[in-house]
Symmetry: C2
Subunit: 448 residues, 2 copies
C-alpha cells in the first residue's frame, strides 16, 4: 500500500499495542467509560428511548445484548444504537473541547455490545476505546472549526469512525481491513446541528454507534472501499469542511493523544455556563445570597458566554441548559445545578416566581471559557462579586475520579436506578485486569 | 403550523390524492418501477450483495420480506436495504438528469418491503413512489449542482428523503408526522462520491432505503424533529450545498413534476457515452465496420464527454463504463453494449487484442450531452462519419415501454434468472388496478 492519510490511520489502528498506550491515557479512558455509564443510566428511560426501542425492536435479531438502565435485550447493533442515545440525550456526556465532540457515546456502546457476544479482555476493550476515540477526535480536528459551525453534528459525523475503528480493534482487523472500514464509515457519516434540541438528534448518535459496528464487520468480510476515504480528493475531510486540515489526522499520531484531553461535565448545561454556576453555588453557600434578592447580574466572560446563553425567556428544560438567566436564578435559589434544575418544571418555576435576573454581558476575549467574573446587585442595594478562574470540569480543573463516582451516584439517583453503582465503578477502575470486559454490563442493566 | 419550506413539503406529501397526479406521471412511475426490477435482478448476485446479506442477516428480525432475484428472506428494513443495493450496483438504474440522482433505488425497495407486511393497493404504492420521487428530486435540485460536485453521493443523500416520504404515504402520516419524518431523514443523509467504484458505495444507497423507512416509522410514533430541517438556518439544503436554492423545493410543487423527467439507460455506461455507443452499433450494422479496422476516432461532443471518458488504459470492468476507448472498441467488435461488454473479461479483451482506438476529442459546448459526431479513420485509408442527434435513453429519445421490457428480459438473461419476467412486466403495467401491490415481489424473487 502507498501511504495515504487513511492508510496511516488504518495502520495505527491495526498495529498499536496495549503497551504503546501511556498510563495516563489508559486512565483517562476509564474515566470516560465511568462517565458514560453515569449519563447512560440517566437517559435510559427518556421518551426518545422508549419510542426508539418500540419502533426498532421488531427489527432486531437474537436479543442477546443488554441495555443500560433497562431490562430489555436486543441484538448487538441495536443495543449499541440505544445505549448511545441514552448516553448522549442530555448532552451531559464528555467533551473533547477543541472539537466539541462527545467522544464516548458512539464508541463505548459499540464496544460493550460486541464484548457481550465476543468475550474479550478488558485491556483489549480499553485499547479499542483509546484508538477509536483518538481517531474520532483527530478526524474532528481535521474538519474543525468550520464543520460544526456550518451545521454538522460532529459527535455523529466523526463518531461513526470512532466506533468503526474501535470495533475493528476488537475484531483484530488488519491494515487493509481497517482502511476498508474507514471507507464504509465515511459512506455513513451524517448528523445535523439543526436537529439539536429535538428527538431527531438521537438518531444520528445511535447510527454512529450502529453503523460503525457494521462498517467493521463488513470490512472483515472483504467489503472494500476507496484508497483514501478521509483525505482523498472527495474524501470526508474535504467534503465536510470548508477549511480542511488533513495533516491534523496524522501529525504526532501515537505521541500526542487527543483522547487524553477528554473532559467531563459537573453540570448538565453548556460548558460556557459552568463558571457561572460555580459562582452562584459559592455565593449561595458562602454569603446566603438567594435569587429573590437579586436585581441585576454583570457577567464578564468570553464572548461565547453572551453569544450562546443570553436567553431571558426560555420555556423548555432543553433550552434552559443554555440560558444564563434561568441558570443563575435556579442555582442561586437551590444551591445546586443537576438535571432536576434544568427540566420543564424548573423552568416554569423561575419564570413563575419572576426570579430570573436582568443580566449584562461584558465581553472579554482574553478570558478562557472556563472563567468568569460575576457582579451581583441586590434589592437591598448590596453588591456581591466573585471571580471563578477555572470552573470544575474544564481542562484547568478536571473532575476528580471521586467526583466522577459522585456523578454516577447522583445520576443513578435521579433516574431511580436502585442497583449498587459501586459495582459499576469498581468494574471500570479494574477493567484492565478482567478477562471479561462485558461483565460491567451485568451491573448496569435492570434485571428482568 | 407556520409555513416553512419543510412544512409545505410535508403538507404536499400528506394531502396529495391519487387523482391529483397526472396520467403521464403515473405512467412514468410504472416505467421507473419496471426498470427497477430489471436492474435489481441484474445486481442480485453480485459479491457486495452476498457479503451484505451474510453480515447483516444475523441482525434481522422476522424474515418476512423477499429479495429480488434471490431465495432468502429477511426483515422489512433489511430487505429494502439489500434490494436497493441490487438495483443500483451497476449504476444501470434510472437517472434524473438535472441532478444525476438515481431516483428509484432508495424508494421502490422501501415501498415494496412495506407493502409485503402491510397489504396495500397498487394505486397507493404508485402514489407513494411519485411523491417520494418528486420530493427527492426537488431536494436534489435545491442543492445542485454544487452538492454532487463537492462530493456527496446525491442518490444516497437525497434518496433517504424519498424513501421517508414514500413510506410516510403508505403509513398515512399527517402533516406534522411527515415533517418529523423529514427531520429524521435529514439526520441520516449520507454518502460520498469518493466511494464510487467500490463496494462502500452500496452502503449509503442501502441506508437511504432502510433509514427512510425508519424515519417514517419513528415519526408515526411521535419522534419529533426541527421546524424546518430542509431550509432552516442549519438545515439540509444550506449545510449540503455551497449555492443553496431553497425556492426550488416548492416552486411549482404539484404542477411541474420532476419525477416525470426520469430517464432510463439502454447501456450500462456513463450517459455521455450513450451517443458514441449508438454510433458504433450503427456503423457495425450498416457498414460492417469492425474494431480491428480502426486507427483513430474523432469525437465532437459536449466537453463532459472528454472530461469524463478519456481513459485509454482502463483495466477494470467498473472503470470501462466511463472509458471512450474501451467502449468504442467493444461496441464496434460485438455490435452490442450490454453488461457483458463492461466486465473484467471484456476489458482484458480490448486491451489484449490492442483494438482500442486512438481517440481525439473535439469540444463543442453547444451540443447536448445526448449528441455526438463521430469520424472514424481505418487502416484501409477510409473515413466513416456518423451523426447521432439524440441517443436512445435521453430526454429527446426516451426508451419505449417495449424497450424497457426488452431490458428486463436481457438483464434477467444476463443474471441467469430463469423465471418468466413477463409476469413482472404485466404486474407493473397493471399496478394501479391491483389490491395487493406486493404481488409482483412473488414473481421477482427465487423460490426456495
Amino acid at each position: 500500500m502507498s501511504n495515504t492519510a487513511s492508510q496511516k490511520i488504518a495502520a495505527f489502528a491495526a498495529n498499536t499495542k496495549w503497551e504503546d498506550i501511556p498510563v495516563d491515557v489508559r486512565h483517562q479512558a476509564k474515566r470516560s467509560l465511568l462517565n458514560y455509564f453515569a449519563t447512560a443510566i440517566a437517559g435510559s428511560t427518556e421518551p426518545a428511548m422508549d419510542t426508539s426501542l418500540a419502533v426498532l425492536a421488531p427489527f432486531s435479531g437474537a436479543a442477546v445484548c443488554k441495555l443500560i438502565g433497562r431490562s430489555e435485550r436486543v441484538d448487538m447493533p441495536l443495543a449499541a444504537y440505544l445505549n448511545a442515545i441514552s448516553a448522549n440525550i442530555f448532552d451531559y456526556d464528555d467533551t473533547h473541547q477543541a472539537t466539541v465532540i462527545h467522544p464516548t457515546a458512539p464508541i463505548a456502546p459499540a464496544l460493550f455490545a460486541q464484548a457481550e457476544i465476543q468475550r474479550c479482555e478488558g485491556k483489549l476493550l480499553l485499547k479499542a476505546f483509546v484508538l477509536g476515540g483518538e481517531i474520532e477526535c483527530r478526524i474532528g480536528n481535521a474538519v474543525s472549526p468550520s464543520h460544526y459551525a456550518r451545521g454538522w453534528h460532529i459527535t455523529s459525523t466523526c463518531g461513526v469512525f470512532g466506533a468503526a475503528m474501535g470495533i475493528g480493534t476488537l475484531l483484530g482487523l488488519n491494515e487493509e481491513q481497517q482502511l476498508w472500514s474507514i471507507g464504509n464509515a465515511a459512506a455513513q457519516a451524517s448528523g445535523l446541528v439543526e436537529t439539536l434540541g429535538t428527538m431527531s438528534k438521537s438518531i444520528s448518535v445511535g447510527n454512529a454507534a450502529r453503523n460503525g459496528i457494521l462498517s467493521a464487520l463488513l470490512a472483515k468480510q472483504g467489503f472494500s472501499g476507496p484508497a483514501d476515504p478521509l483525505a482523498g480528493e472527495r474524501g470526508f475531510v474535504r467534503v465536510f469542511s470548508d477549511q480542511p486540515s488533513s495533516n491534523r489526522l496524522t501529525d504526532g499520531l501515537g505521541e500526542n493523544w487527543e483522547i487524553a484531553k477528554n473532559t467531563y461535565k459537573p453540570y448538565p448545561t453548556g460548558i460556557v455556563l459552568h463558571p457561572v454556576i460555580e459562582g452562584c453555588i459559592r455565593l449561595h453557600q458562602d454569603t446566603g445570597l438567594r435569587s429573590e434578592d437579586v436585581v441585576t447580574v454583570e457577567l464578564t466572560g468570553h464572548p461565547l458566554l453572551r453569544e450562546r446563553t443570553d436567553r431571558p425567556n426560555v420555556t423548555t428544560g432543553r433550552l434552559s441548559q443554555v440560558s444564563a438567566q434561568h441558570t443563575i436564578a435556579i442555582a442561586l435559589r437551590r444551591g445546586r445545578a443537576g438535571l432536576l434544575e434544568f427540566n420543564d418544571d424548573a423552568v416554569a418555576e423561575t419564570q413563575r416566581d419572576k426570579i430570573r435576573p436582568e443580566v449584562t454581558f461584558i465581553d472579554d476575549p482574553s478570558r478562557a471559557i472556563e472563567a468568569v467574573h460575576m457582579r451581583v446587585h441586590t434589592h437591598q442595594g448590596q453588591t456581591q462579586e466573585i471571580e471563578i478562574a477555572a470552573a470544575k470540569g474544564g481542562p484547568g480543573n478536571p473532575m476528580t475520579d471521586a467526583e466522577l463516582e459522585e456523578k454516577l451516584a447522583e445520576l443513578a439517583s435521579y433516574r431511580g436506578f436502585n442497583r449498587d453503582v459501586r459495582a459499576i465503578a469498581d468494574a471500570i477502575w479494574s477493567l484492565d485486569g478482567t478477562s471479561d470486559a462485558a461483565e460491567v454490563m451485568g451491573f448496569a442493566n435492570m434485571p428482568d
